[in-house]
Amino acid sequence: MIEVEALTKQYGSFTAVRNLSFSVKSGEVLGLVGPNGAGKTSTLRCLAGIIPATAGKVRIAGHDLSVDPVAAKRALAFFPDEPRLFEYLTVRQHLTFVARIYGVADYEARAAPLLEELELSEKADVLPGELSRGMKQKLVIACGLLHSPSVMFFDEPLTGLDPLGIRRMKDSIVRRAREGAAVVLSSHLLHLLQEVCTNVLILKKGDKVADGTLADVAAQFSNGEANVSLEEVFIRATGGSES
């Protein structure tokens, strides 16, 4: 579903991501972790086609992102950490707009259960200005899920959600992965990743430090200890500092 080969992203002379390769198959949830400035957001933005990669190849659902970006983007959804919405469009109008962009013919039938699931039904006709941050985040999620993407990128998806919202979000991610979606999830909440992810990729200063299933990565940094937490793995893998 997601294939990344030698991805490199540079900003001038600064290299944010260096020669990164990995793949995420259907049904897998990859946790992207790393200290601040490790290149997680740059990686996600390159994978979602928001910014062009300096070098390397990204394939989304079989489509090369640089060759056929429209087909690749039709298969993906990106959920940013900061909910950005159109201030004059109501919740329902956001969904109408997104449906037209993605050509979702039966969007009304899809929107109703989505709004219900995300507890937005009662807010369907209000503007984003009247929504709490958590509600805005939910609206972004509803818009992203409307076209049933097979590939999903989440950048700090739980920011601003209440405990119940966090629980539902985790369940939703797991359910969509079980239904066949490939998910990449970037978060500093390591306990969340441990609960949700099947795989983990650790970045540090733009380089891949570790990549594999949770068990494989844990084994790599466990030094023979049993039941090492992801938090401990993360600290050992990154040396416990940003530098």
């Binding site: 900003y11 001038g12 600064f14 933005r45 979602a48 086609g49 928001i50 910014i51 062009p52 970006p69 429209v70 087909a71 690749a72 983007k73 039709r74 993906l76 959804a77 990106f78 940013p80 950005r84 919405l85 159109f86 201030e87 004059y88 469009l89 109501t90 109008q93 109408t96 707009f97 449906a99 037209r100 962009i101 993605y102 050509g103 979702v104 013919a105 039966d106 969007y107 006709d125 209000v126 503007l127 200005g129 009247e130």
Partner: protein, 594 residues
């Protein structure tokens, strides 16, 4: 305590100046500053020098004209001041508050400072802005060419006017706030205030109505100078306008002696206002926090490139047209951006502007229309309307793209989201530009139709039959949308190419260099308009001339010429959209801040 507060203000001011000077090391600010300095030199300071020369040549006529101008300014200022003061008394805010910044609130409100000291600090802070404004107004609206007198005296006059108004508005705010909190008869107080204001307005009307009516009907004063003299001699007018005359006295003084006479009473009024405000015991903290939060939100919105709204919540509206889920995705952007436009159109401010323009047009154009009717249409009104329409069209093409921003520029904060949409860049750019194109096109069409209706050439141009005129109007109207779109591509491309410049130029941040940057954008827009229109217009002219040899029909010639111009415009628009889309696909706002 006053020393500490003064230190804070002066140190902040010094750091601001150092910061502004320091950023001149960046070419964009240096260039902007150079532009602004050149502009001020050529359009402001040279005019002042010219005005100074007039002083030496001024005779009785100039002096009379100067007196009239000063009288008109005085009347206008009085009117504005009365309206502002009346507004403050009639509609006080829910909670009384003073204009502090959020850091000032964070540091000063919990500090061991009395409420009175905070009021002093606020008044002192306002003085920096007032002094600056007084100097700028004196320089820009220099009137020494008419009445003589030293410019410094005028600056002092402006300072007294602005300071008194500032103190009065703060005093009103705090007094009414105090009454709201402590008096059970607040409603009665408000009724009394409104009654007093209405009575004052009636008294003003009664005292000036007679002379003005006589002047309008031709039975009273023959000229404006006579009317002004009549009003000045009226005892009723004198007493009614006395408070304003006292405050305006130093500004209106024509020499040192007049100034010396006027300054005493004016300072007394100022001191009374100061005593009134500084002695207030009103709890202004909560209101101040609300004001500071609102100001910070406005500033933040401007810096993020979002629209500015003051105390106004956007209203949910139905879509401008039904948007089926299948079809051209570009139309979804038109739908979305028209929706945001409708929300802005229904704002109170927009309605106020429309109402104001309507009233002005009615009263301003009524005498012209009457004269036009009586003259049988030979008074040149048609020509005037034509000129007016030409100006509207030129402004729409040059300034319109800076005002109609329902496109990529308004969606800059959503750039990441837009880029995940499964659309090619040029199609996304096209979709985003549709709404402002439609807006500007409608304005242009109205101007074209009005010009066509007003341009009466009967008897002068035999070839300009009504069918030819209709064809010409249709040709120009057909070209309007594509020209508007090309003009809109310019600022959007500037934003994508130079987002840091663009963002800086649209925030309200001050500094002469920012002014210069905005000026440069305007000039770029103007040059680009010429660059786009000249080749197409040239080609159209050539085709028209060539066509007249073969076709011998003005209407058909115009259609052929328009077709050639449209081809060039279409090519320009296609290249522009492709380039804009290409750049937007590669656009990364986050890299700009690195």
């Amino acid at each position: 305590m006053a020393g500490a507060l003064l230190y804070l203000r002066l140190t902040s001011l010094r750091n601001l100046v150092v910061h502004r000077l320091g950023r001149l090391r960046q070419p964009k600010y240096l260039l902007g500053a150079a532009f602004a300095v050149a502009y001020f030199y050529y359009f402001v300071f040279r005019r002042i020098s010219a005005a100074r020369n007039v002083v030496s040549l001024s005779g009785q006529d100039t002096r009379t004209a100067g007196m009239l101008a000063a009288g008109a300014i005085c009347a206008l200022l009085c009117l504005i001041a009365v309206l502002r003061v009346a507004y403050a008394w009639i509609w006080p805010p829910e909670k009384p508050g003073l204009a502090f910044s959020e850091p000032e609130i964070a540091f000063l409100f919990p500090a061991p400072i009395t409420r009175k000291a905070l009021i002093h600090y606020r008044l002192l802070s306002a003085q920096f802005g007032i002094l600056f404004s007084a100097i700028v107004i004196t320089v820009v609206f220099n009137r020494s060419g008419f009445l003589g007198g030293h410019r410094a005296l005028h600056a002092v006059g402006w300072w007294i006017v602005l300071s008194t108004i500032d103190l009065h508005l703060n005093g009103t705010n705090l007094t009414l706030g105090r009454l709201r909190e402590t008096s059970s008869h607040f409603l009665l107080w408000r009724v009394a205030v409104v009654t007093a204001i209405v009575l004052y307005a009636v008294a003003v009307y009664l005292s000036v109505a007679g002379p003005v009516e006589g002047y309008m009907s031709g039975r009273g004063a023959r000229g404006l100078d006579q009317l002004s003299a009549l009003l000045n001699e009226s005892t009723a007018v004198y007493w009614i306008t006395l408070p304003f005359r006292i405050v305006l006295g130093p500004y209106l003084a024509t020499g040192y002696r007049d100034f010396a006479v006027a300054i005493g009473p004016a300072l007394l009024v100022l001191a009374l206002h100061y005593y009134w405000v500084s002695g207030s015991q009103t709890r202004f903290e909560e209101g101040s926090i609300v004001i500071a939060a609102r100001r910070a939100a406005l500033k933040g919105a401007a810096q993020r490139g979002e629209s500015l709204k003051l105390g106004r919540k956007p209203k949910a509206l139905p879509g401008p047209f039904p948007l089926p889920p299948r079809g051209l995705p570009e139309l979804a952007f038109l739908w979305k951006n028209l929706l945001s436009l409708r929300s802005s159109l229904f704002s109170r401010r927009a309605l106020g502007i429309v109402l104001g323009v309507g009233i002005w047009a009615y009263f301003g154009l009524k005498p012209l229309m009457l004269a036009h009717r009586m003259s049988g249409g030979n008074d040149g009104l048609g020509f005037l309307v034509l000129i007016f329409c030409g100006i509207i069209a030129a402004y729409t093409l040059i300034l319109g793209p800076q005002i109609a921003r329902q496109d990529l520029r308004n969606d800059l904060p959503n750039a990441d989201l837009l880029k995940t949409y499964p659309m090619q860049g040029w199609r996304l750019a096209l979709g985003e530009l549709l709404a402002p194109t439609a807006i500007l096109t409608v304005v242009l069409w109205v101007a074209i139709l009005a010009a066509a209706a007003a341009f009466d050439s009967e008897g002068n141009l035999a070839w300009l039959t009504s069918s030819v005129r209709a064809t010409l109007v249709a040709c120009v109207a057909l070209a309007a949308p594509i020209v508007c779109m090309i003009q809109l591509i310019v600022p959007n491309t500037v934003m994508v190419l130079l987002p840091a410049w663009y963002q800086a130029s649209r925030t309200r941040g001050g500094g002469v260099e920012m002014f210069g940057q905005r000026l440069m954008f305007g000039i770029v827009q103007l040059l680009f308009a010429l660059l786009v229109i000249v080749p197409a217009a040239g080609a159209a002219a050539l085709v028209f001339v060539a066509s007249t040899y073969y076709v011998h029909n003005v209407g058909a010639d115009a259609v052929i010429a328009t077709g050639s111009a449209l081809l060039i415009f279409a090519g320009e628009a296609a290249v522009g959209l492709w380039f804009l889309g290409e750049r937007f696909e590669r656009f990364d706002l986050s890299s700009e801040s690195r």
